[in-house]
């Protein structure tokens, strides 16, 4: 083997080009050691981003949110990413290519991942200002600029991308139209019946649909910027136009250097993704396999995997076409298409269910003998997608009465589920990431025992998420088969999970740990079950935590109503709702800190933490804080901590709503709420998001029309971006949804499980959460709201209660038989304040400064 480096050049840094790099790195993590030099040329100014979710750019996501590239990914030896680098030509005889600026690069192997471009019908006027296409972030920015000065917009093209684009226009607040040449929407994926329901659902959402319209001219409008004239003589006026009438492979480089081209465009490739030149590969939407160009990301990812494997020397992997089944949510409408959706197979028979009241359409296409599923169309409800897809892909035999697969199940009856045992190991369950049942089973055997771990280990379910229900079924079946008892028992004292204990407490109306232990536990309890049960009791009944029957259950933090520090002292955090504080209150905090010699620090949640208080000092410190008008900040509890806010429309020139006011109202509503873990909120006054609400358990962001609600974000050890639960809410609806969300979390989460991990492990994912919180699928919304109302109504400041209760107050001491302090607590000065002395400093008997003047 030669020691000369092999130079691989990738043209294109879109989703597929980036995936190729990932796949190659998966084979050769150390490129220099493998003798590979990899150069990636991207024409756009930014590295790969998620084009599938482009429309989320208009509902709050930023270009950074869409990025697919982990920071630092391209900074590794042997790998170079060059942006703004357009390739002008390929010289195959010399194995070189030329960049637009004239620079020449030599390659040993070339991978074309140039993607596609939007097709704009050759209509006069289609190049007028205010006419757009929908492909890149730059396109979106141009649309945004146009949208800002428009009242109405038209999307030309009623396919999958066109409807995504219509959502974008609607999100910008425009009167939105879709103009389609064919007689129905999504003509490729959906049949006539499905198209009809889809249309009426989309129109219900305020988008006007015009089918069988062939645009022949675009001229000046009378009431708007443009007039679109149709072949039948009718016309439509609009301020902006977006063309989304299909894509064309970007094969111009290949054509110019005379590579073989497919019959409908695209670089012709073989099963290894090689073009007619053995040194040049093509993958993704610029490639044509078997005469077919694939406009979906999954086949592109598959090609990236195959090309990387072949380049790495393994000829055993090949691309063999793709199943074009899709499931997506268009403006909240579920649409799915599986296999032969149109029933074109000879002898195919259909079985159709339509509910025009609920706007649901489902069709099965079955083989002539009625034994196999050939295809399906689902509109309005696509819950059966995963099951039906596997039946079709694996040729499973249909049940006796296949119609049961799509008919609504009578209340309380389970639908016939697809036995995952019936699936072969080779069945690909996650088509986005090409994960088979066999790979899932191997990962489960390797120790991935939760859905979160399984996702991390295999990537299954991490892209569109459609396969998560099936993946979960495989997980359960496999764990059962391997005899792994999934023990979710809280501890040795309770053979129940936290969720089960919560239900027992609620259903049986249990009010104390002793009752629960007597009925459902054994032994005396421990430092795991006691605080957990204390927390559940507080979530349900909100009794004072220092009542004699509850006090022994509390962690030191909850007992002394402060956060214990490494030296056994506590920190004191008064509540500062929304981070708003008057100068007088600031002074009051400063005076208390000074009087008791406390170290002060501003927290990340916009309040002030006072450190270094001994247990016996806490009642006096809090007495003074309460006298100054403060309440407990619950910084010690597994409970609502802070509602961080930006200054909002009151002062900020960009703000669109009063975020501080909202933050204060939310903090007062949920203060004191005990939960499986701490909860943080953020409220931002505009999309600039200065309160970082999308990194919080509950994030609220102001819009022109109300508030967007984000949930399950987290900073900390494992950052997680919050997800949009609902948009443009009025305050009453916002509060109602937060009530439901929080109580659903409190009811179902594990001990010490933040909302982010809870969400990652939630079967059914975001769709399920939306179904429960927004659509009340479980029929528990009223119950959740009532449970929250009980907590809100029974709020009391715990420090005030502790000081008002002589028995409880008496317990808040360092020594039971002395008023002295702990002489092992020693401070030394640092930067003008105190800090705990180190062990060495204590050894040297350096007793530091007298920081705790006795006050009476």
């Amino acid at each position: 083997m030669s020691t000369r480096k092999q130079h691989i050049v990738v043209v294109g840094n879109g989703m597929v080009g980036h995936r190729f790099v990932q796949e190659l790195l998966a084979v050769h993590s150390d490129l220099p050691a493998a003798g590979i030099e990899l150069t990636v040329l991207g024409e756009e100014p930014r590295p790969a981003y998620d084009r599938v979710h482009l429309s989320s750019f208009f509902s709050g996501s930023s270009a950074e949110d869409l990025s697919l590239v982990e920071p630092g990914f391209y900074q590794r030896p042997g790998l170079t990413l060059r942006l703004n680098a357009r390739v002008a030509g390929i010289e195959r005889r010399r194995n070189t290519l030329q960049l637009a600026d004239g620079e020449v690069l030599a390659y040993d192997k070339l991978v074309l991942a140039t993607g596609s471009y939007p097709f704009v019908p050759p209509v006069p006027g289609s190049d007028r200002p205010g006419c757009h296409v929908y492909r890149t972030i730059e396109d979106l920015e141009a649309m945004q600029a146009s949208g800002a000065t428009s009242a109405s917009g038209v999307v030309v093209g009623g396919g999958l991308l066109g409807l995504e684009c219509a959502k974008a226009l609607r999100d910008m607040g425009l009167r939105t139209h879709v103009v389609e040449f064919a007689p129905r929407l999504m003509v490729v994926q959906v049949d006539e019946g499905g198209g009809r329901i889809l249309r009426s659902k989309i129109e219900e959402l305020g988008v006007q649909v015009h089918t069988e319209r062939n645009t022949v001219d675009i001229t000046d409008g009378a009431t708007a910027r443009h007039r679109m004239v149709f072949a039948d003589g009718s016309w439509l006026e609009t301020d902006m136009i977006v063309f989304s009438a299909g894509i064309r492979a970007r094969d111009e480089l290949a054509r110019q250097c005379l590579l073989a081209i497919g019959p409908r465009g695209g670089v012709a490739i073989d099963g290894h993704c090689r073009s007619s030149d053995a040194d040049i590969y093509a993958i993704g939407e610029c490639a044509s396999w078997n005469g077919q160009v694939f406009g979906l990301v999954a086949p592109g990812y598959d090609m990236a995997r195959v090309a990387a494997a072949h380049l790495a020397g393994s000829a055993g992997v090949s691309f063999s076409g793709a199943d074009l089944s899709t499931k997506l949510k268009l403006m909240g409408v579920d649409v799915a298409s599986i296999g032969d959706a149109q029933g074109r197979t000879a002898g195919a028979r259909a079985c159709v269910f339509t509910d025009e009241l609920k706007q649901v359409y489902k069709k099965l296409v079955v083989s002539a003998d009625g034994k196999r599923l050939l295809g399906a169309v689902l509109v309005g409800d696509a819950a059966e997608y995963g099951t039906l897809l596997q039946m079709m892909l694996n040729g499973l035999e249909l049940p006796e009465a296949p119609e049961q697969l799509i008919l609504p199940a009578p209340d309380g009856m389970a639908k016939p589920a697809l036995g995952v045992d019936a699936l072969p190991d080779g069945a690909v369950l996650c088509s986005c990431n090409n994960v088979s049942k066999g790979q899932l089973c191997a990962a489960i055997e390797g120790g991935a025992h939760t859905i979160g771990e399984l996702k991390a280990a295999t990537r299954a379910g991490t892209s569109c998420g459609g396969c998560v229900p099936l993946v979960t079924q495989v997980l359960k079946a496999e764990l059962a088969r391997q005899g792994v008892a999934v023990n979710n028992h809280l501890c040795e004292h309770f053979a129940h999970s936290r969720q089960e204990l919560y239900h027992l407490v609620r259903v049986e109306g249990l009010r104390s740990f002793a009752e629960l232990l007597a009925r459902h536990g054994r032994g005396r309890g421990c430092d795991v079950c006691k605080p957990t049960v204390a927390n559940i009791l507080a979530s349900c009944w909100n009794d004072f935590v220092l009542k004699p029957e509850h006090a022994p259950l509390q962690d030191s933090n909850d007992y002394f109503l402060g956060n214990i520090q490494k030296d056994g002292t506590y920190s004191v955090v008064p509540r500062i709702p929304g981070g708003e504080i008057t100068p007088d209150k600031l002074i009051a905090i400063g005076e208390v800190a000074k009087r008791y010699g406390l170290y002060t620090k501003i927290t990340g949640g916009q309040r002030i933490d006072l450190f270094g208080a001994q247990a016996h000092e806490l009642p006096r410190i809090w007495g003074e804080l309460i006298a100054a008008g403060f309440e407990s900040g619950h910084a010690y509890g597994k409970s609502l901590r802070t509602v961080k806010s930006c200054v909002g429309s009151t002062w900020c020139r960009y703000g669109v709503q009063d975020s501080v006011g909202m933050a204060i109202r939310l903090e007062h509503r949920y203060k004191g709420l005990r939960a499986p873990h701490k909860i943080k909120f953020g409220v931002s006054g505009c999309t600039r998001e200065c309160a970082e609400a999308q990194g919080k358990d509950v994030g609220v962001i102001a819009t022109e029309r109300g508030w967007n609600l984000y949930v399950c974000g987290n900073g900390g050890m494992k950052p997680r971006h919050a997800e949009l639960l609902a948009a443009d809410l009025d305050e009453a609806t916002l509060v109602r949804l937060i009530d439901r969300f929080l109580m659903f979390y409190i009811r179902t989460a594990d001990r010490l499980q933040r909302t982010s991990t809870w969400r990652d492990n939630l079967e059914g994912g975001l769709d399920y959460l939306k179904a429960v919180v927004l659509d009340d699928r479980l029929g528990i919304a009223a119950e959740l709201e009532a449970a929250m109302a009980q907590v809100v109504d029974s709020y009391a400041c715990e420090w005030r209660a502790a000081l008002d209760d002589p028995a409880a107050r008496k317990r808040l001491r360092t020594f039971v038989n002395s008023d002295a302090g702990d002489d092992n607590v020693v401070f030394v000065p640092e930067r003008g304040q105190i800090r705990p002395a180190t062990a060495a400093e204590k050894q040297m008997r350096f007793k530091g400064i007298a920081v705790v003047p006795e006050t009476v």
Binding site: E492, P552, L553, D555, F560, K566, N817
Partner: protein, 126 residues
Amino acid sequence: MNARSASAAVMESVEVSAGAGAWQPVCALDDIWPDTGVCVLLDGRQVAVFRLADGSLYALDNHDPHSGANVLSRGIVGDLGGEPVVASPIYKHHYRLRDGVCLEDPGTPLATYAVAARDGLVWLHC
């Protein structure tokens, strides 16, 4: 000799001093709520005294060697495998109340002390 047998002996005659050290009343029994602890300061020494719901009393060093802080009286008491323990509030090490052995690090047990209740008072021997 463990703490329980010492307390049984002392119940008969609190006034009599047992071995080196002496019996001293340190607080009212009511000062210690069932299933909690308190810290007693005795001649500069900090002793954590626990009262369990069944009435039994235990006393051991208040100093948690794993954190270097005097905090054990503020830990949650319970049982592990039937053995009464206290969990340190700092890093959650468990110490057996009976003999001061740390379950996670059995090498150097904490000192334990005889303790008993009489006439509504808690008596400590150290």
